[in-house]
Structure formats: structure tokens, C-alpha cells
Symmetry: C2
Subunit: 311 residues, 2 copies
Amino acid sequence: MSAFPSSVVIREVGLRDGLQSIPVTLPTSRKIEWVQEAYAAGQREIEVGSFVPAKLLSQLADTAEVVAFAKTLPGLLVSVLVPNLKGAEKAIASGADLLLVPLSASNAHSLANLRKTPDEVVAEVARIRAARDAAGSRTLIEGGIGTAFGCTLQGRVEVSEVLRCMQALLDAGCDRVSIADTVGYADPRSVRELFAQARAMAGERFWCGHFHDTRGLALANVFAALETGVNRFDATLAGIGGCPHAPGASGNAASEDLAFMLEAMGIATGIDLDRLLALRAKVAGWLQGQTLHGTLWRAGLPKTFQGAVEA
Amino acid sequence: MSAFPSSVVIREVGLRDGLQSIPVTLPTSRKIEWVQEAYAAGQREIEVGSFVPAKLLSQLADTAEVVAFAKTLPGLLVSVLVPNLKGAEKAIASGADLLLVPLSASNAHSLANLRKTPDEVVAEVARIRAARDAAGSRTLIEGGIGTAFGCTLQGRVEVSEVLRCMQALLDAGCDRVSIADTVGYADPRSVRELFAQARAMAGERFWCGHFHDTRGLALANVFAALETGVNRFDATLAGIGGCPHAPGASGNAASEDLAFMLEAMGIATGIDLDRLLALRAKVAGWLQGQTLHGTLWRAGLPKTFQGAVEA
């Protein structure tokens, strides 16, 4: 049986994937407090927002301000999501360390959500790469392949199509590629199969796994991906985020539960679980009335729990 | 990476582990309805109750009646829990196919819950085995090792102690041995390590994994156990059951979510998910006001979902 990575990065995406699906606008000051306390709890990669037109996602209209603050924290890798070249130009100008361009492997989902085919997204990524290079910027470009296991419009998505998209993204100049189960269609066996092939294809450019807990399998899927050597996962505090087609359904993997699983396995995350749980309680207060998820906050850490010993 | 079993049995323990921790007494007629519909949905192993003194668990005082009904269903393996020889004699008299004797690997938990040390439980199992043989009964004896990863009284439990208890149970005449994470202390790496050793020790007498979802890891733990070749897991409809020390915390793995995971992986469970979800809705109505768990009931099956193809 396979070995596990000795350490794993949990990228906090609650400020983007989480907040964009919640009908609450957090003031910029609270987002900054969230970033600061996540950093204090040991998180070193945070997706702080999205450069999309403010009329589409007013919750994230202050992304440049949040990036500016986040960039003051030493050693924090600051990510943003961008849907197109215009957003990428803003991301590059903001000084973000990484911009993630989403691509839907499901053609139907791509047309419905991005109004582009997957191949048109790839072409946009090539333009973003050219713009980044022309600007002399060091902002990393991540191609994030969503609906990689299926979606509610199309049903199942074939592995071959995901891998085709991934190769195209790499060829178009992505520094990083990632795979996302956007609506909870993955299962651990499919994860194992796809991630093993994706890692073989992308090598060190394979970056991150992103699993939604829509059908309760997020952590099992993380475990299966871990076994293929993946060492970076997206998650959201309190598991916020989720699927507009399933109101009340679980959102992303909960950062605190994921950190607990990894630390319990002896895999270092750099995260102080008590501090992360304290932040969760604070954010839960800000989001009162919203459906939150996760289990650790209620059960607490096991007695005599020892997390991973950092190397 | 390891192969998976082609089929897995989900033993429904909601009528015992679930109901015993809920302050609602289901009438016998409803328990019978539950057994009947679980059977109709394809479940072929059900723990229908417990032979404990009625003054301790009045919810389960009708176990003999439920066994009698369950035994009318062809091919159903009818299990009951018994804490001691007196309960085992009732179980044997009832005609149950299998009686499970719980043993706590945590000495502190064992004394607090069973008022016996693990070794005293082993001695009781030897008496149960003698009584079963003397009666000429075919009722199988299962030794179920609980708190196998730790407990709230003692904290961590050592693998060596679990294996010592398991060997003692086998030597005392158990036909089957099982491992339970009673209060959500397991993680997938620990599961892999313990289950691989337990399977090597017990061979074909290794029976079942039982995982609570107290800290959200039940399905990840099942996946890790599957990789060691275990092909039988306990679960409860709607994830009922749970830990008296963590009110509101998640209970057992939810049968419907577990069945979904397995079927999505192409592992046959024999379960009709739509029928199981319909039964969940019915039982949820009976248990109104109680905290239920699970995710599939809300999200529904993925579009174009195909379960395992039965051999």
C-alpha cells in the first residue's frame, strides 16, 4: 500500500468559493480579519477572492483590497480566481501570487456557467499567459478543471476528456493544473484513477485537489487522492460553499475536519487546530443564519490527541 | 494500489446501535416494518436488537419479537447484541443467526460501560461458546472489539492491546471478530494499519468494520478498511446513534451514504438506493425531533448515476 506525503497544504478557499455562494456580504474588514487569523492559525495559502465583474458577485468586489492586505503577511501564497483575461489583468496588477482560471470539463456546465466551451477557455488561458509574460509578472497561472467527475447538467464526464483538457491547459502555458469535483460526483475509486493519471501527465505542475462534500465523500476522496501523492487540497472553513442545485447540501470539505484528518494521520499541515476552531466560531457568528457544516467543531479533538510532529 | 472487494455487505445496525441512543421508543410494529422494508431494499444482514435487561434499554425490550419476524425473511442474517451469558442464552433461544458480544479494548471504557475488564469479557465469551455448543445451536458468536482506536475516558488505545484482545476472543471460541471505532477516534491511516494486522490474524473469521462519524471520517475510514480487503461494514439509516459524550454529534456511518459510496465505486451492495432513501424518509418521520445525519437524502443521486453491476 502506498505511502503518504509527510506534509500537506490546505488552501483555504472559504473567502471565495464559500462566500460567493452565501447571500451575505462580509465587510472588507472582516475578510481581512479572517485572512489574518487563518494565517495566525498556520494557513499559508489562501484564495482571497475573485476578479469578476462586481455586478455578478458583489460579495467579492473588494478582492484587490483583500489581496493588498494578504500580501503583507510573510510567506503567504495569495490566490485569486479569474474567469478571463480582463480578470487576469486585474489579478496581475493586484500582485496576487497565483491566479486560478476555472475550466469546466463538462461541456454543458462550461456553456451554462462560463459561456465558453472548454477549448475557448484554453484559448483564453493562452492569452492570459502571454499577458502575464508581457507584464514581466511572476503571478502563477493555475488551470482548475472543474466538474471533473460529472455535473448536474450532463451527468458523467469521461476521464479522457478531463485529461485532454489538462494537456491543453499545460500546453497553453499553465504553471499549475488542478482537479475539482464541483458538485460531489466523485467517489474514491474514480479519484484514485483520475488523479494517478493526472499526476503522471502533469508531474510537478499538478497542484491541488478540490472536493465538495455534496454526497458526504469529500474526505474519503481526499484520502484516495493522498494515496496518489497529491499534497495540496482546497477546503473552506465550516464547509461553506456548495451547490446551487442542492439547497442546504454540504459545501466544500471543511478545512477544520480536513486538517484534523491529516494531523490524525501524522501528516503535518502547519495548522493549529485550536486556533482554526476558534476562527470557525468567529466566522460562524458572522454568518449566522447560514447553513454551516463540519463535525469537529462539535465533537472537539479526541482526548490525548497529538497531531503530526513537524519535521 | 490495492484492489477492492467486488461486493460488500452493509449490516444495518440502526435498530440497535441507533435506537438505543435515541430517547424515542419505536413500537414493535414499526421495527418490523423497518426490517421488512430494509429487506425489500436489498439488505441481507440486520442487527435487530439487543438482549439486555429491559430496565436498562426499554427501547429494545421487544427484541425477541423482532427476531421472530426477521427470521421469516429468507436469506436474512439476523444479528443481536448480547452483553453476557444470560443475554446469549436468550439470543440462542430466539433463533438469531448471530450474537455479537461487545468488548471494549479501552480498559477504562470497559469498566465504565460493561463493568468488566476486557479479559473478563473474554471469559464470558468462553462460557457463551460452551452454552451455544451445549445447546446444539448454530448461532454464530461474534466478538466485537469497541473503542479500538481510543475513547473519551482513556484517550488512545494501542494496536497491540486490540490485537491481544482479538487473539483472546478467537481463542475463546468466537466464530467472528470485528473492530469498532465507537466514538470517532480512528483515522484512515490507523485503520489501514490495524485492519491489515487484524485481517492477517483472524483470516476468514474477520467479519466487520464499524465506524462512527463523530469527527466526519467514517466513510474515509471505510475506504481505508476496504483497501485491506474488508467486505462488511456496520451502518445505520440516517446515521443515527452516536456518542453520549458529544450531544448532537454525528452517529454511525449513514447506511444510505455508505451504499452510495460503494455503488459509485462499482462495488455491489445489493441495495436499491431509491428504496433505501424512501425508507430513510419514513424512519425520519418516525423519529421527528431527533438529530439525523447523512447527505445523500438531500442531494439525491447524481444524474446518470449507475450503481455496481451485480455479478
